[in-house]
């Protein structure tokens, strides 16, 4: 029974596919999985938008949406209908082809990432040996879509937003990759299913998730910072910066194309949270050995929603960074910390079992954090403000 619950989607797929002739079965199975992914995550997007609006409301001591349906639950549907019925305006001077392709490319690349994410035991679309590499290749292509949108709109706000987005995404791409490399160093595999398997065993009922090691904890925090910047979420939402850039790179998009950007942004957030879950939080494994009877996909999606909640919580708390603060933080703090973490992970791997490696690795990381944090980031250079004018 427990086994059936855990594998219910896999069994369902096999059962549905078994009606087809043998030659078609494999292709049909893949198509079915793709269709499921393409339906489930937009549905989750609707829930997340509702959660975000409610959560932000509560954080600001408001009630949040409460007009459409009970507790405003139908609000995402109303929003969807509204965006579908709006006029789709393409600026006269815009590069129509690129303007049209940008949202499509964004959504496609974002959904491609899910192909390699294991969402439960045996629930992975393509079990690729270099899954992590594939994921990052797809994740990086979404930057192209953002720049296409900003460039083709031929609008100064769009272009500024796109420039900011590209500068920010490329700067944080480096720490994002370096912070996940530590997992590959320990597991010895780029396959995401192998990474989850490596974390899915227990000592005294507690799991061997990578977040419960010094390098894993540091890696997870660095990963979380980089993903926040990578998905353009507050406090790194400079590319959209609605108080200064209208809406950033999607200023000139309306109607359903705008909805696609909105969807792409949230789905990217799900997918990158899913990857973080897989890398550091044990993927679909249960947090205690006595809870392993709960289906694996429930664990995966609960961890995913928990990450989304933290994203919302941070958005409700932090103000936007300035461009120079953003860049300084990436290059002077996050990147050196990632490099230190790489070294610490190597040390952990070769120091052997025992308490000594815990002490040494934690000490190095804390020292690096204190040194970099106090030395570079907390230094305030305050002085008389000087103005320069064009002559």
């Amino acid at each position: 029974m427990i086994e059936t619950c855990d594998q219910i989607f896999v069994l369902l797929q096999h059962w549905l596919v078994s009606f087809l002739p043998a030659a078609w079965q494999q292709a049909a199975g893949v198509l079915l999985s793709v269709a499921t992914i393409v339906c489930v995550f937009p549905a989750l997007f609707a829930v997340a938008v509702w959660l975000e609006r409610k959560g932000l409301g509560r954080i600001q001591n408001r009630i949040g949406p409460n007009r459409v349906g009970p507790f405003g639950l139908l609000q995402p549907i109303a929003d969807g209908i509204k965006s579908l019925t709006k006029e789709d305006i393409v600026p006269l001077s815009a590069d129509a082809a690129v303007h049209f392709l940008a949202p499509v490319l964004l959504v496609v690349t974002v959904f491609m990432g899910f192909a390699v994410l294991p969402m439960g035991r045996n629930m992975v679309l393509v079990d690729m040996d270099a899954g992590l590499l594939f994921y990052f290749a797809m994740g990086t292509s979404s930057e192209l879509a953002v720049f296409m949108a900003g460039w083709s709109s031929r609008n100064k706000y769009s272009l500024l937003g796109a420039m900011r987005a590209v500068a920010q995404m490329i700067s944080y791409e480096v720490p994002l990759l370096l912070s996940s490399v530590v997992v590959v160093m320990i597991t010895g595999s780029l396959s995401l299913t192998k990474i989850v398997e490596a974390q899915n065993h227990y000592t005294w009922g507690l799991p061997h998730w990578y977040i419960f090691t010094p390098w894993g904890f540091a890696g997870f925090l660095l990963y979380a910072i980089s993903t926040t910047a990578e998905t353009n979420r507050s406090p790194f939402d400079l590319p959209e910066g609605e108080s200064e850039l209208v809406a950033g790179y999607h200023t000139e998009y309306s109607g359903f194309k705008f909805a696609l950007f909105f969807l792409g942004e949230y789905v990217a957030m799900f997918s990158i949270s899913g990857l973080g879950t897989t890398l550091f939080l044990g993927g679909w494994s249960a947090p205690f050995s006595f809870l392993t009877w709960i289906p694996s996909w429930i664990w995966f999606f609960s961890k995913l929603m928990l990450s989304i909640f933290v994203f919302i919580w941070m958005r409700g708390t932090l103000p936007r960074l300035r461009q120079d603060q953003l860049m300084n933080f990436a290059w002077k703090f996050v990147l050196p910390m990632c490099l230190v973490n790489l070294m610490v992970t190597g040390l952990w791997r070769f120091m052997g079992e025992g308490w000594l490696r815990w002490v040494v690795c934690s000490a190095i990381l804390i020292a690096a954090y204190a040194g970099l944090g106090l030395g570079e980031m907390c230094k305030q250079r305050l002085g008389p403000r000087s103005y320069r004018y064009a002559e």
Binding site: R58, I59, N61, R62, I63, T317, L318, A370, G373, L374
Partner: protein, 205 residues
């Protein structure tokens, strides 16, 4: 330490998030169409014209007969966005002091232009124009329905007492004092006239 402020901020927002479910007084907003906040006494939206029920002269409905406005057109001239339009009457009516005054044959305020500055109220020597607190004025006709005429603008002194009680009482006291003074002056004038008449009569005799 780096990151300390972030944790402090996150704790604060978490307190707000959970607190708003447990204590209703944390919620600073009300659910508007069902719940409303009572307007503050000093609130002001757009001007209205005050009429008195007890002082009336001439025919017409109550609001027209008791209107305090004497069509002096000071407010029209002072209005910064020029949203007031007044046409003076040809005939005169008695005001509350018993003095013959003109009255507005037309008095229009375009509230789509009005900027709620209250200058018309401050310059009016007759306490005839005051600020209303009514704010639900949306309409589907942006030209006709936002141009308020005399009848729409006229509100009774009782209504003025309801929305601005302190201010309205002060105005009433001042007007009553003026009326007493005017009555006294009229009496004195009447006495002087009789005295003069008596004197003339005496001389004649």
């Amino acid at each position: 330490m780096l990151g300390e402020g972030i944790l402090k901020g996150m704790a604060e927002t978490a307190k707000n998030f959970f607190g708003s479910y447990f204590s209703a007084e944390r919620l600073t907003t009300v659910e508007y169409p069902e719940q409303r906040v009572a307007p503050f006494e000093a609130a002001r939206v757009f001007p209205f014209l005050v009429f008195d029920q007890e002082n009336r002269d001439g025919g017409g409905p109550e609001w027209e007969a008791g209107m305090r406005c004497v069509a002096c057109q000071i407010c029209e001239k002072e209005c910064p966005p020029k949203c007031i339009y007044i046409e003076k009457s040809k005939d005169k009516k008695l005001d509350y002091l018993g003095k013959a005054q003109y009255y507005p044959a037309r008095f229009d305020i375009d509230i789509s232009v009005c900027m709620s500055c209250q200058i018309c109220v401050e310059v009016c020597p007759f306490e005839a124009i005051k600020m209303d607190t009514e704010y639900e004025l949306s309409t589907d006709d942006r030209f006709g329905s936002l141009l308020l005429d005399r009848e729409q603008l006229a509100k009774s002194n009782e209504y003025y007492h309801q929305i601005h009680p302190t201010e309205a009482s002060a105005v009433d006291t001042r007007l009553a004092a003026e009326k007493v003074k005017a009555d006294a002056r009229a009496k004195a004038a009447a006495q002087a006239a009789t005295a003069k008449a008596v004197a003339i009569a005496g001389e004649g005799a």
